[in-house]
């Protein structure tokens, strides 16, 4: 897909002015965020399970080569065709090759962020195939010629009114005056239209939430059932996934599944969790004749042994973006590439380069909500800080920011100087601003004061207050 991560700042300006987008995003706090909190409250073991989940993933990643080979041995023994793809280009070519060999014309797709990452749809369409997204959110995004703005709720940026208008514009064979004023009518219309596609598709492509080494299976987790129809009705089932999805055993998967749905949508469990192992068996009356799994690297292996190895634990639940104040203000498209929100701010620079995505790790106040809800306990703010450090070390960040940081770090490394300067500044600002309590404008702070007042210091620094309180306390 096209990358606009370098244009993050202008993307943000446009997003903040987009009234439709702001209306759509307003539902996040009462929706996914509140639902996750309720699900967590119902399961007393939730926090302890996060530790277990983190440990499972750490163990797997530390032995990633062994587990990938163990999974592959099992998968091949059940009749799966395993394809390894070092890059996005490799993955695209492997999949179009499978479609060509199957004489395919129509391809249905379940939801897959890895397929977005490799730009699969455009590639298959260029090869002359009709590609139909079957997850409702993905279908909406497809008919609008957009990309998903969220990893589990791709159309979260759209309002009901927009969706109704899109259906009327796109489904011109249906009566113009049909009622579409309720979500249930829109869903029914999509069901009718996509049913035909499921039945006539030649190849069904899904992603995978997990690969299980013990059994050689791939797993999809969905609510709509579209992934199951996609992979069961077509002659060929292709799974596109990545090396970080493998886990050892069914016990390990059980723990991770307990965390996934609750963190993602606040459901106790998603409606459908499906394990697929090999193609249909000799005695099976249905199921695909061929089962291919394409395992993508695309920059992930390079994270092993680096501070960013921890990001490979991610199970793509979306909790970090649901809880992020920046994502909540600007939505997913502003991030300019496949993975938005805090996980994107850490992952995208690794996958598309820091030069392209350097604004993303800077789009955070380090409030820490993402890390506090991450089921895999990925230290997202710390990893964003690591990217900022690397950006500065490589000479990035802009002249003004570098000069300011240079001055600040010169002082910060000289505590006496720093305290003296801080006392001076705080006393001065306190003297001017104390009576009003805040500033409407101040030199160099336009980015803050354009939208809100800046609280005025009260005259003494934290260090001063700390020293005084210590003196005042009985020993």
């Amino acid at each position: 897909m096209d990358v606009t991560a370098h244009a993050f700042k202008s993307n943000v300006k446009a997003a903040l002015k987009d009234a439709q987008l702001q209306r759509a995003l307003a539902g996040l706090p009462t929706g996914l965020v509140a639902q996750r909190a309720a699900a967590k409250a119902r399961l007393p073991e939730f926090e302890a399970l996060r530790d277990v989940g983190r440990d499972i993933k750490n163990h797997t990643i530390a032995n990633l080569d062994h587990y990938l080979e163990a999974w592959e041995r099992k998968a091949v023994a059940t009749g799966a065709k395993v394809h390894w793809a070092p890059t996005a280009v490799d993955a695209r070519e492997i999949i179009s090759g499978i479609c060509r060999a199957a004489n395919a014309r129509l391809v249905t797709k379940g939801k897959s962020m890895v397929s977005e990452e490799i730009g699969l749809n455009a590639h298959l369409e260029k090869a002359g195939l009709e590609v139909v997204e079957t997850d409702l959110g993905e279908y909406l995004v497809q008919i609008r010629h957009e990309t998903p703005s969220h990893i589990i709720a791709p159309a979260i940026h759209l309002t009901e009114a927009q969706i109704e208008a899109d259906f009327r514009r796109h489904h011109t064979h249906l009566p113009k005056d049909r009622p579409l004023d309720e979500p249930v009518k829109i869903v029914s219309e999509a069901r009718e239209i996509l049913r035909e596609k499921f039945i006539t598709a030649d190849v069904g492509i899904t992603g995978a939430n997990f690969l299980v080494a013990e059994t050689g299976s791939s797993i999809i987790v969905t609510n709509e059932g579209n992934g199951d129809l996609t992979q069961s009705l077509a002659r060929v089932h292709v799974v596109i996934t990545s090396i970080d999805k493998v886990v050892p055993t069914l016990e390990d998967v059980s723990t991770l599944l307990r965390l996934l749905a609750r963190s993602a949508t606040g459901q106790e469990f998603s409606v459908y969790t499906t394990f697929s192992t090999g193609p249909r068996r000799a005695e099976d009356p249905d199921g695909p004749d061929e089962y291919h799994v394409v395992v993508l690297d695309n920059g992930r292996s390079a994270l092993l042994g680096s501070p960013f190895q921890e990001v490979l634990r991610c199970i793509r639940c979306g909790a970090c973006m649901n809880h992020c104040p920046v994502y909540g203000a600007v939505g997913g498209h502003a991030y300019g590439w496949v993975y938005p929100g805090p996980i994107g701010a850490v992952l995208n620079p690794a996958l598309i380069g820091l030069g392209e995505a350097s604004d993303l790790p800077n789009a955070s106040t380090f409030c820490g909500r993402c890390e506090s809800v991450c089921p895999m306990k990925i230290p997202l703010p710390g990893l964003m800080r690591e990217w900022r450090t690397r950006e500065f070390a490589s000479g990035g960040g802009g002249r003004m920011a570098r000069a300011a940081l240079g001055i600040w770090s010169f002082a910060a490394r000289r505590p006496r100087l720093y305290h003296r300067l801080a006392r001076l500044a705080v006393a001065g600002l306190g003297a001017i601003g104390r009576s009003r309590g805040s500033f409407r404008a101040l030199p160099f702070t336009g980015g803050w004061t354009r939208n809100r007042d800046l609280a005025a210091p009260q005259g003494r620094t934290f260090q001063q207050l700390w020293a005084e309180s210590k003196r005042g306390l009985p020993r």
Partner: protein, 229 residues
């Protein structure tokens, strides 16, 4: 189509990069502990709610399914299943036409007790209104059914019809997912799975239109679970 040689070199590229970054030497360090773990399948923390007596598990199972918009009915014995199924379909004003695979247990019920019910066997086609399947296990923890695909319960019967009726022996109710997977290991052998193993926790749903929950997306619009015994 790519050549087999390409496939081998791509495989070596990916796995070689992983090995190099993990600092593997010439030996296969760590492989034994990995094999041990794959064979031993250690259990992790299991929520307390999944470790209760059978009556509580059954109540939890039904409550969780109902919370997910499924219907739960109980049949005292196998002889009562046809009547329970017919009563559900009549109550919903649905056609009394069932589609099922050749599951021996489902076939053993005395369907002639409900002469109005018709029963077609084999994989489902898009015209089928009601699918009838037999779950391997019911998982109380989250009100989840476990269905194994095959001639007995074709996967199309689970997903194509608008209404899904799943019959479950009360004895096949377990607490956590782990216990249900143990049953799969017993039935198919360790490390072996049916083509698809489906965990189903309700009728299909979506919240992709304005974040509002709608039941009945692409899979069944209705799910009725019959617990026998």
């Amino acid at each position: 189509m790519s050549m087999p040689g390409d496939e081998a070199s791509r495989r070596e590229k990916v796995l070689g990069a992983v090995r190099a970054r993990l600092g593997r030497g010439s030996g296969a360090s760590g492989r034994e502990s990995v094999e041990e773990r794959l064979q031993g399948q250690p259990r992790h923390l299991i929520p307390g709610r999944s470790q209760q007596d059978r009556a509580r598990l059954k109540a939890l199972f039904a409550a969780q399914l109902r919370a997910g918009n499924a219907t739960v009915v109980e049949a005292a014995s196998e002889a009562d299943v046809p009547r329970a199924v017919a009563a559900y379909l009549r109550g919903q004003n649905l056609p009394l036409a069932l589609r099922s695979g050749d599951d021996g247990w489902l076939a053993s019920f005395d369907w002639s007790r409900e002469p109005a019910l018709t029963l077609a066997r084999g994989r489902a086609d898009p015209a089928d209104a009601v699918g009838l399947t037999h779950a391997v296990a019911g998982i109380a923890e989250t009100g989840t059914l476990m269905l194994a695909s095959g001639p007995g319960n074709p996967v199309t019967v689970t997903f194509l019809p608008e209404t899904s009726i799943v019959v479950l022996r009360a004895d096949d109710l377990v607490g956590p997912y782990e216990s249900a997977f143990d049953r799969i290991r017993e039935r198919y052998g360790r490390g072996t799975m049916p083509r698809t193993l489906n965990l189903v926790s309700g009728p299909s749903r979506t919240a992709d239109v304005g974040g509002r929950l709608v039941t009945g997306a692409h899979g069944p619009r209705r799910l009725c679970v019959v617990i026998v015994g």
